[in-house]
Point group: C2
Chain length 407, copies 2
Amino acid sequence: MKASKSFRLHIGIFGRRNAGKSSILNALTSQEVSIVSEIAGTTTDPVEKPMELLPLGPVLFIDTAGIDDRGDLGEKRIQKTMQVFDRTELGLIISKTDEWGDFEETILKELKDRAIPVIVVFNKSDLVQAGNCLQRSFSGENIPVVETSATNGTGILDLRQAILNHAPDDFINRPGIVADLVGPGEAAILVVPIDKEAPKGRLILPQVQTIRDLLDNDSFCMVVKERELREAFNRLNKPPKLVVTDSQAFLKVAADTPPEIPLTSFSILFARYQGDLPEMVKGAMAIDKLKTGDKILIAEACSHHPIGEDIGTVKIPRWLTQYVGGKLEFVHHRGHDFPENLSEFKLVIHCGACMWNRREMLSRMMKARMAGVPLTNYGLTIAYSLGIFERALQPFPAALGVYQTTK
Amino acid sequence: MKASKSFRLHIGIFGRRNAGKSSILNALTSQEVSIVSEIAGTTTDPVEKPMELLPLGPVLFIDTAGIDDRGDLGEKRIQKTMQVFDRTELGLIISKTDEWGDFEETILKELKDRAIPVIVVFNKSDLVQAGNCLQRSFSGENIPVVETSATNGTGILDLRQAILNHAPDDFINRPGIVADLVGPGEAAILVVPIDKEAPKGRLILPQVQTIRDLLDNDSFCMVVKERELREAFNRLNKPPKLVVTDSQAFLKVAADTPPEIPLTSFSILFARYQGDLPEMVKGAMAIDKLKTGDKILIAEACSHHPIGEDIGTVKIPRWLTQYVGGKLEFVHHRGHDFPENLSEFKLVIHCGACMWNRREMLSRMMKARMAGVPLTNYGLTIAYSLGIFERALQPFPAALGVYQTTK
């Protein structure tokens, strides 16, 4: 899926000619696959570099190579700089601690005046000890400061995290839940089993959010238990665009849903909404590579959540042990507690994180990716275990492609 | 609607022959309309008295007139007493403070052993000062103690409140939300408008509870905005059993719903579920009797609830003022704060109280009734103001009857 330019988060990179803008950019993106193209500009024009910056997805770096502190800022240059400010959604000011001065303050003021979030990056921390020469504190202004060395990679993960933390909410929360799969004036069927684990008198949050997302987008839905699903189909004189089921009813719902009607689960919708579905598909497929003695991290967003707890502590461990045919080591983490060092794990299996914002889930996905550890969620693990992965991914061509090319 | 015996809360009344059981019973029920019948027993048999005890509704008092402290409790009497304990759901032990003794303790132990809630009633407080002679404290056992005088009425309202407070939850929560109007295997359409007042990404609680109630009872539903309602009807090849709308979309939904399909609102469902619908219908109709200068209490269960606040502080006052054609005095109360003295008000208009249990709403209805002040809720007020009261009450014969005979 190619993202249009307007869809990308625009990250403006500002700094003096020798501050290391290009090396920071290279370090940020060296682990990335899809450097799409480079739009050449004149020497004084800012250079736009569309890239995939995980875990954010498509971004557009605007490298203001031609705007620096040499000479006065003539009319033309000022105009070009202003244009960059106008389209920047997140600004990086790259400097050295002993060089921060009027130029950087001017950039900072321009960004702040526009309420654009700013990250101050002190580069080359291997050469110059940060704080030694700096006469200025940023803490009172609530501006994040990251120290990096593009040459040895120090602080690049911190910078990536800072970008994730300070990117505007509407970019982080960009993917919808379900409505793009249904369309205005069209209907979905939502299958909501009611068992002893369902909270008394309520629906669980992902179900409510899914209904709301459909209404927000001029779609509507039939809400039904798995037992009445056939009757619900009988009542409709035009098939629904999509059937969404709770993972636990997947097999019965798959049997009762005509094969030409797309079918998926709330968990899969939320893997996309809260995280990165293709990445989590790869994560689920890593189950095939598990072997006796492997260590698996099971992470739960909520500290107290009996439903997820049961899936995480009992059902998934039992199933994985059976699948691998040998003893596995399970480590459980709950709430915001998440291990710093993931490299000892062969797989991270996360709950749907329905109570979180997307930023926190993407942050965990990034940490797992940097450590080279696959990550998936409960629902995808269940779908994989039930052998209906391919059908459940049908509505998501990118994720399905990952599955079909990897399997 | 006649309640079957098993539906009634069974209240066992225990006490010595001279403790005043009958006078308490009379005082409790003297303001009630429908004393249905009296089932005569032998002199030693308990007497069952089915009654309407507002705000609880149908109860069965079991007056153990024949079981007292005279002589030993012979085999036959013990057996009959045990049978009363076995069907009692709430026990009242009526005594005088200077007479509490082994007999009362035995009754108390039998009830406690069965985990039956107990209220201790010290009667005739005009003659004997409670506490003066009593050597026993009930506070450590968490047993409510009420002092009454059946002759002058002192404490009868407290007793009524204590019965409401200590009746078992499943009796208090007995009415369903909606499923009895739809039926298993049948569908309802729920119309959920999405406007700026809808909470971001969610549905409001009564909507979620209504969906859940349908699923719990093997019904299902279509959830749709008012704009897509016609399309939703087009999709169904069999009409729904019921359409439920948010009050604010009432007129459009009424226009788009074929007249033969029953239509009501979430507010009206919740007037029944959380309170007493016929009583609240009477309350709404009291709007016609309002005149310039009248004082109206607007009560909101939640302390912070911008949606309800707007309806309660702006919309309803404006509409009532227009309707009456003169200035009215509005008094607002929020949260659990509710005036003790309601007699100065001509009408109480309450929010739907969706976040409360039914007990608290019934308790307020009782206070209003005792003060002779009509009470209704926001949704009924809106329905009345829109002139669609009769259609919206169609699914509820008892409430409709109240409207048709009163108007």
